[in-house]
């Protein structure tokens, strides 16, 4: 049976753990705010970009652009896996990795090679352990402060490699931030670019006087050619932003749960401690009473 001293030591230990988890929770919360600000700062650009791209795509339809045309034979798939660098964020990375694994199941062809570009240490560790082909690795991006240039540098390389035939399809796996409590791992195809939908209905209602008939300089097709690679960067950047925000949210929740669990443990241990103390006092009293009886 645990002695009083043992239980006390345990309580102290749990209290210390609780302090750490609570501190991590607060750090994650403040980083989350930063990440969300970045996401919001990106939104005007993304919306406008989608709008312009949509209206251009509509008007230059029928033109073949290598970035838009799917290849007949898909043999080489590349996955950009976005995970966090650090752990202690619940099932966040596990979910992302299993999403990436699902590609292997879906495309279980004999002659398909799948390679990876990793953003984040956890994803890289998984790739290493399961002996996947690893291309480039970027650490210190997800969850930290990063600029658009990170996405455009990587995006440019992906486009170049796609065009030169190193890959036939490129996907990005990332965590979509839905709410504080929900982050969903998502697979998105970024190359070849899936058919572009014209500006969404909701957008049209917003600016009803939007006139799609622009004079274009150079031609719509050339403009589209300029914009398509950028679309890849934009998608990649948004995936990275989403993953960062999700990471902090996931860590915040995980640490919140851990703090709660600590509280429960402290409560239970305190009850056990009090019981043991009472038992010891009772035993001592019995001793004294017993001794006194014997002396009489």
């Amino acid at each position: 049976m645990a002695t009083l001293k043992d239980i006390q030591t345990k309580i102290v230990a749990v209290k210390k753990t609780k302090q750490i988890t609570r501190a991590m929770n607060m750090v994650a919360a403040s980083r989350l705010r930063g990440a969300q600000t970045n996401m919001e700062a990106f939104r005007p650009y993304a919306l406008k970009f989608a709008e312009v791209l949509g209206s251009l795509a509509e008007r230059s339809a029928g033109e073949d652009n290598p970035l838009l045309t799917p290849r007949d034979e898909v043999k080489k798939i590349h996955i950009v896996l976005c995970t966090s660098d650090r752990g202690l964020c619940g099932g966040f990375n596990v979910n992302l990795v299993s999403k990436a694994q699902s590609i292997f199941r879906d495309k279980a062809g004999v002659n398909i090679t799948i390679s990876f570009t990793n953003f984040g240490k956890k994803g890289r560790d998984w790739c290493r352990k399961s002996k996947k082909i690893i291309g480039r690795v970027h650490l210190g991006v997800v969850g930290a402060k990063f600029g658009f240039n990170v996405a455009s540098t990587e995006g440019r390389k992906l486009v170049e490699e796609y065009l030169s035939g190193t890959y036939d399809e490129v996907y990005v796996v990332y965590a979509e931030f839905i709410s504080l409590a929900r982050q969903v791992p998502v697979i998105k195809q970024i190359l070849p670019i899936p058919p572009i939908e014209a500006a969404e209905q909701a957008d049209e209602a917003e600016d009803a006087d939007y006139m799609p008939e622009h004079i274009c300089e150079p031609s719509p097709n050339e403009l589209l050619e300029e914009m398509l690679p950028r679309n890849v960067y934009v998608q990649l950047y948004s995936a990275l932003l989403e993953t960062s925000t999700s990471e902090h949210a996931a860590r915040m929740m995980a640490m919140d749960n851990a703090t709660k669990a600590c509280n429960d443990m402290i409560e239970n241990l305190t009850i056990v401690y009090n019981k043991a103390r009472q038992a010891a006092i009772t035993a001592e009293l019995m001793d004294i009473v017993g001794g006194a009886e014997a002396l009489r």
């Binding site: 700062a41 240039n149 622009h214 004079i215 300089e217 150079p218």
Partner: protein, 138 residues
């Protein structure tokens, strides 16, 4: 002037400029162009360069852009740039060191290399920044 146009310069990282302007001059790929109010809808890609506009108080303002797109509507000009800085935000030191770096790389690589075009782009951007920053100082 009959009225003013809304100028918005957006980068993925932030909204750099949101201002009323009387006239906007921007570096299109096919040449510099100016936009006044009631311009016909127009879209073009931009070169690395400077957008300058006159704000409602008639003061001239300068913004560096590293390429991108511009869309002009009768009452609004939207610029989508990968990066943009107002003249007062340009970091002279950084631009200068970027320029030196790019020059060094240009000297080392040969014309055929992919790095060459990239370094050239970097040099162009850095030079524009430095020129603008010098203008601010003078």
């Amino acid at each position: 002037m009959a009225g003013s146009i809304r100028l918005e310069i957006v980068t993925p990282e932030k909204l750099v400029v949101s201002d009323e302007a009387e006239i906007v001059m921007a570096p299109g790929v096919l040449g510099e162009f100016g936009v006044l109010v009631n311009h016909t809808p127009f879209m073009t890609t931009l070169k690395v360069g400077t957008i300058h506009y006159k704000d409602s108080s008639g003061q001239e303002r300068f913004v560096f852009v590293s390429g991108g797109f511009a869309e002009a509507l009768p009452d609004k000009v939207t610029v989508l740039a990968e990066s943009a800085e107002r003249i007062q935000d340009i970091d002279m030191e950084r631009a200068k060191s970027a320029m030196e770096r790019a020059q060094k790389r240009l000297a080392e690589t040969d014309d055929a290399a992919v790095d060459f075009t990239r370094a050239k782009g970097a040099l162009e951007r850095a030079m524009h920044r430095v020129r603008l920053a010098e203008m601010r100082l003078s």
